[in-house]
């Protein structure tokens, strides 16, 4: 787990947890500083999770409104950064469910591994990173999310588990499934490509 206190360069050595305490006391300047410190990173995460920039911006707005309402509930269980990611994540999940992208129970179904494709024995040899990048956009938000948190945000499995609020075993299997789906998708595209030649 990260250290509880992180410092925001823009706001100058500000204690994140203290900012949350000030926000709980309805201090709008504190909210502005928290937005300056974490807004960009949260928006990056939401863009990867939701892919649509406009939706990501709307969810960022919902996230900071939720922080304004509930800053007092921060319990030091994780760093403020992970806590904020967790809130952004729940707001994004609400949005995906409201828009019908995800069914209410989909979070659990997504972890069921598709036995038909046996990608455990498949290896990525399609090395064009552009192909990989476009395939990531098509594997579904929940798997794209764990890959992003791992590869881009550099979070450990334990940290991802805190953000997703799931057991660490679920993170492990979701990362594995994400890889399988990505490899299977590239594989099927390669087969299609071969067939057209």
């Amino acid at each position: 787990m990260e250290e509880d206190v992180t410092f925001c360069a823009q706001a100058g050595a500000t204690d994140d947890a203290a900012l949350l305490q000030d926000i709980a006391r309805r201090n709008q300047d504190a909210l502005a500083r928290l937005y300056e410190c974490h807004g960009a990173q949260l928006l990056s995460y939401l863009r990867r999770f939701l892919t649509d920039s406009r939706t990501a911006e709307e969810v960022l707005q919902d996230t900071f409104l939720a922080v304004w309402q509930s800053a007092a509930t921060y319990s030091h269980r994780s760093s403020v950064r992970l806590w904020l990611l967790g809130i952004a994540r729940r707001q994004a999940m609400n949005r995906l469910r409201r828009d019908g992208v995800l069914a209410p129970w989909q979070e659990y179904e997504e972890d069921v591994i598709d036995e038909r494709s046996n990608p455990e024995t498949l290896v990525l040899t399609q090395l064009e990173v552009e192909d990989l990048y476009s395939a990531v956009g098509a594997i579904g938000p929940l798997h794209r999310e764990v890959l992003g948190l791992l590869l881009v945000d550099g979070l450990s499995y334990a940290e991802i588990a805190l953000v997703l609020d799931v057991p660490i075993g679920t993170v492990r299997s979701r990362v594995n499934t994400a890889r399988q789906r990505l490899v299977a998708r590239l594989h099927s595209r390669e087969v299609e490509y071969d067939a057209t030649r």
Partner: protein, 297 residues
């Protein structure tokens, strides 16, 4: 894409990047990657993906217009959330909360409680009038303890993820459900009591109700507290054990293991008295301090 059956190292590449492998496995993967060209390429692919993805999604500064929108909403909320007392809107919200919570509760609960209470009623109605009170004293708390153990815990919550995402506080949800379950069981027990007194006028409603009300509140509050800490099964197990002890006390008249004086003294606790009511209040207060799961915001 090629088959790579001789080694499963490729599956371990993402955990390897995340630093999640133990030292021995990580070393094995490292050596394998050094020797295996396809795994080396896959590792490089994941790392490149991370870089490209970071570049394409990166935001250097959070947009000012979003912050302005946040401030506008907050300003409007500060106005609309000013206290107005109990308005029609508040009443409507409370009604909606109640109705929706009932929908989320397991359907089996309503039926199971009614069936057990009806069985208790049949046994009481077919027993001598003097035993009716004792039978209700045993059945009503059991039904309530079962109900409250199941109302609010991750073990027993099929819609946990959704509930956590709602803005309603967990304390309010817990109180709403507790009120519902206890209210429903109270009504069942009252109906059984009133109909029993109609059958045998030697019993009065007051005496019968005082017999089961205290134990019912005590046992259900205890079951709720333990279910919050140890899960629904844990809560039920302890509540049922206490209940079984009470049954043993009742049966002691026939078995004669404990002295009749001690039996009478212990049985007296199993009624509506300061001890059971205070106990119920204390258990409820502890539950309300920290419900089993927090709100997701």
């Amino acid at each position: 894409m090629t088959q790579h059956a001789e080694d499963r190292s490729s599956v371990l590449l993402l955990p390897y990047i995340a630093g999640e492998l133990d030292a021995q496995t990580a070393e094995h993967v490292k050596q394998h990657v050094a020797e295996c060209a396809s795994c080396r390429r896959e590792l490089a692919s994941w790392q490149s993906l991370g870089h490209v993805w970071r570049d394409t999604s990166q935001v250097t500064r959070p947009p000012d217009h979003i912050y302005a929108a946040i401030m506008r909403v907050i300003a409007s909320q500060e106005v609309t959330l000013a206290p107005h007392g109990m308005t029609l809107q508040t009443l409507r919200a409370m009604t909606l909360l109640f109705v929706n919570q009932v929908r989320l509760m397991r359907r089996s609960f309503w039926l199971a409680s009614a069936i057990v209470m009806s069985l208790g009623w049949f046994v009481a109605a077919s027993s001598p009038a003097s035993s009716a009170g004792l039978i209700l004293q045993l059945v009503a708390p059991l039904v309530a303890a079962y109900g409250v153990s199941m109302i609010y815990h991750p073990d027993a919550e099929p819609f946990l993820e959704i509930i956590r995402a709602t803005p309603t506080s967990p304390h309010l949800l817990l109180l709403t459900r507790f009120t519902f379950v206890c209210g429903y069981d109270l009504l069942l027990a009252l109906a059984a009591t009133v109909s029993l007194t109609a059958l045998s006028p030697s019993n009065t409603v007051g005496t019968l109700v005082l017999g089961w009300l205290g134990p019912m509140l005590f046992l259900s509050a205890l079951a709720l507290l333990l279910a919050q800490r140890w899960g629904a099964v844990g809560g039920l197990a302890v509540a049922w054990s206490l209940w079984a002890l009470r049954v043993l006390l009742a049966a002691n008249d026939h078995i004669g293991v404990i002295s009749p004086e001690l039996t009478a003294r212990l049985s007296a606790y199993w009624s509506t008295n300061a001890l059971t009511l205070m106990g119920a209040l204390i258990f409820l207060a502890v539950v309300m301090i920290r419900p089993a799961y927090r709100r997701g915001i």
